[in-house]
Symmetry: D2
Subunit: 134 residues, 4 copies
Amino acid sequence: MTLPRIIADADVQLAVDGETLARSIDAFLACAAACTACSSACLAEDDVARLKDCIATNDVCAAICEATATVAARLHKGSWTALQKQLEACLHASRACADECREHAAQHDHCRGCAEACERAEKAAGMLLEAIPA
Amino acid sequence: MTLPRIIADADVQLAVDGETLARSIDAFLACAAACTACSSACLAEDDVARLKDCIATNDVCAAICEATATVAARLHKGSWTALQKQLEACLHASRACADECREHAAQHDHCRGCAEACERAEKAAGMLLEAIPA
Amino acid sequence: MTLPRIIADADVQLAVDGETLARSIDAFLACAAACTACSSACLAEDDVARLKDCIATNDVCAAICEATATVAARLHKGSWTALQKQLEACLHASRACADECREHAAQHDHCRGCAEACERAEKAAGMLLEAIPA
Amino acid sequence: MTLPRIIADADVQLAVDGETLARSIDAFLACAAACTACSSACLAEDDVARLKDCIATNDVCAAICEATATVAARLHKGSWTALQKQLEACLHASRACADECREHAAQHDHCRGCAEACERAEKAAGMLLEAIPA
């Protein structure tokens, strides 16, 4: 992964190093991709009617995680509050999606995988929230 | 605009009608486009070094407004908290971007136009926040 | 709409004026929002199993139209080929989505509205493709 | 990475396995993040005026790679042409961005890292293009 090297070059001013920030951005993007793929796989299932909430939660979480990755990769002193609020949105969306996907984990592998990706995004968002300067 | 007709069909459960929700989504998208175009126009200016904060704020606001439009267009009972947090991120990002762009409004038409688009997005986010069921 | 004023300020070098370019960007964004809202409305329908292709086509079209709007709003001499290829993707995605949504137009208002938004995006993409310098 | 497991579950019908498709999606997302971070790092440099083309190319490439990742993660028989066109846009955008970033690689580590991420996205797009059924 070359992202740490790119990030490290910037003057981040968060209480985390570039490597940690890069891993967080990676967690948001991996979550967005997992949610998109899980939504698509749910849609193809025979029991799609039972998976409506899962698809809806996946799609919302994907959009929020994508924006969070972009904002975190554009760290800038004028954007602390925006980043903080965006991380809070990400924390809630990924927690809600992990909860929803976990309910279908026994039936569908894609839901189990997606729940794990959401949990990692939730943790990354929580960690970055604590690293924002007061 | 056909969006009100599409939205009206859904069971929104917000304390706003479909027409108002559609206008809000339109305000978020118009703000994202204005921020992207303003960022690109700032970059082409001779005094780009003075416009660094404006470009950075524009890019963050564009990403957040785009995600907010998507989440608002996917309204779903399981996503109230995610929508609320995303609207708060949108409110702060568009306010910060309006403030920054207004500082360059006398020199650059694109900054004046962008500040106005940001103000409309901020108002739309504030209004939807009040319409979310408790 | 303030976008024409922002765009007009830039040195576009397309064979269209800023007003026309701004209306095209607006058509791509309106299509993305319509596809997202139609996908969400389809998912909430009782006959969701019959609307699987419509949801999938909507979601693909929304992602492509969003990117096309961003690229078109960032016009830059180094990006002509990328813009051309992105417009071709947009043309095909919005045509495919218009075709799919039209099949459900009699049953669902949101599909009829979305088909119209897709047709406008397809026309805008075709027009911009002809305006790119050779 | 949980994405291969999610993708593997779907009926892909591309001439690649789920693992390869997942690695490609990862390459598009890593490229989008690298371009966004490189754009932000360029903007913070003292010689920003010399990096204008790099920033513009980065921003276009990020938007296109993000959409490509989404479309590839939503593979669906009705979307072959849209995927093909989107992959062509991705191929060109990431090649153009790799070329541009390589010119600044000696001066800026973030440009060197970004050029490598773009090259991997270009290769992934080329490989998937060959795997689309005729």
